[in-house]
Symmetry: C2
Subunit: 247 residues, 2 copies
DNA sequence: CGCTGAGTTGAAGTATTTCAAAAGCTGTGG
DNA sequence: CCACAGCTTTTGAAATACTTCAACTCAGCG
């Protein structure tokens, strides 16, 4: 996982889909702002812990961030993963407190933008505001789908759903191998399951010929249709709902 | 539950905390917009079903709305309840499809504002935009807390948490009786539990002297501290995080 | 007065967790 | 190149939290 700021130009160029809608000067303004707050991070690095003061927005350019919360008992729930083109807003309704932990799941690059700067940008760049609005709608969609399954779905359904979601968010190449940088423990924390049960469930799926699991979460979905069925999803529809800018 | 449009003036006057930040002309603009889209609703009425086309934002002035999703099996998960001063955005990342059902849990009044109008308002009224931003942060906070408990909390913790949350959102008078317009079935759909188990759990709490449950969800919390402990919450902190505009 | 929907309780069933132990990789230092 | 430590995955067996099924009560209501 090679991530350094040298790739900046590429990242910024294709970042946040802004190219299509904005004129050149707006694009510059946005890219400058991003660039000024750019920061490379290493796997395991903490951005913020829940309860701390934190008034920044994090725009992820590369790598995975984990958003999590935990109980006094030490039980961890992962609320979401943020990756390329995702925007993380950890600040609570009071405008200062972070409501969850933000930690790097892999190496990567992000822009950490102070809230005042962020508001100004949103106000000055209507195309950005629009983009952020669409992105938030997409985030709400995928969290709604997950909450449904967290509350009412079986372990099998939850695992299947997560895999379909990852596959889509990682570029939608079913049939090919894609890598999910998570341990079974982390996947369990995401799905509200024990790591042991995640293991049993994935093994069952792979024995049923629905997917292939090589070491450390390299995944090849052999039967996308069956997997989507188990997840209770229409993949086309799901894709449109959770990917901002999709038709 | 008497809700008709005659109370309009009152609602609009105190609605959405806008009075404090906006100047008079802005306030007028906003109130006119609200008023133009005002609509009374009756318990059980459907605003929209998941999957339908829907490009409106719903601002709740009075009453409860239920936001829910369901599986093919018929299992229902309630994602959230919206009440006084809440804003509901049911539209997915594609800008057209509704991602959940919106249904009236009680009689009430809401403004149903088309998305284009809404965007224009947000752009023309910076104080409104700011308010909406804070409200969304509060919504994220309370959903994060819930997701944590849905994934990792016991039934007892989930029930306790929901009750504390309702108590706070309904005006924070612990020790007094407050009414939650939900059946145990609905509460179960909210918490990812069967109605039977909700019953057992609330009974246990009431037998332990932590709360009093009179018929049909009139609740008096006798031991707020114990209830918050069971919920794994610091009530002060929790209040600040989930109530927009709180200090 | 009998109907309907909601709450309550018991008993049996089941999905998932927990505990425990072994096996498989990965990196490190000798 | 091997040995060892540390972490992840895998598997089995026992425990448990919650669900499902079913029966009964109770209140409101036509």
């Amino acid at each position: 996982m090679q991530s350094n700021l040298n790739d900046r130009a590429t990242f910024l160029e294709e970042s946040f889909l802004l190219s299509s809608t904005a004129d050149l000067s707006q694009k510059r303004l946005w890219q400058d702002a991003l660039q000024r707050h750019l920061r490379a991070f290493e796997k395991g690095a903490h951005f913020v812990h829940e309860g701390e003061n934190w008034s920044f927005v994090v725009c992820v350019l590369d790598g995975w961030l984990t958003l999590s919360k935990s109980l006094d008992t030490g039980q961890v729930q992962i609320l979401d993963f943020a990756m390329h083109n995702d925007i993380v807003e950890p600040t609570a309704g009071d405008g200062r407190t972070a409501i969850f932990n933000v930690q790097a799941q892999t190496d990567g690059v992000a822009a950490v933008i102070p809230l005042p700067v962020w508001s100004a940008l949103l106000h000055d760049l209507p195309p950005l505001a629009q983009l952020v609005y669409a992105t938030e709608a997409a985030v709400r969609s995928r969290r709604a789908e997950r909450t449904l399954r967290l509350g009412k779905g079986s372990a099998e359904m939850r695992v299947a759903h997560a895999l379909v979601e990852f596959c889509i968010r990682l570029g939608d190449r079913c049939g090919e191998v894609f890598h999910v940088p998570l341990t079974q423990q982390a996947l369990g924390d995401f799905l509200g399951l024990s790591s042991v049960h995640v293991c049993r469930t994935t093994r069952r799926l792979s024995r049923a010929g629905i997917l292939e699991l090589t070491d450390h979460m390299d995944i090849r979905v052999l039967e996308p249709h069956k997997l989507a069925d188990l997840a209770g999803l229409d993949p086309q529809m799901f894709r449109r709902e959770i990917m901002p800018g999709a038709k």
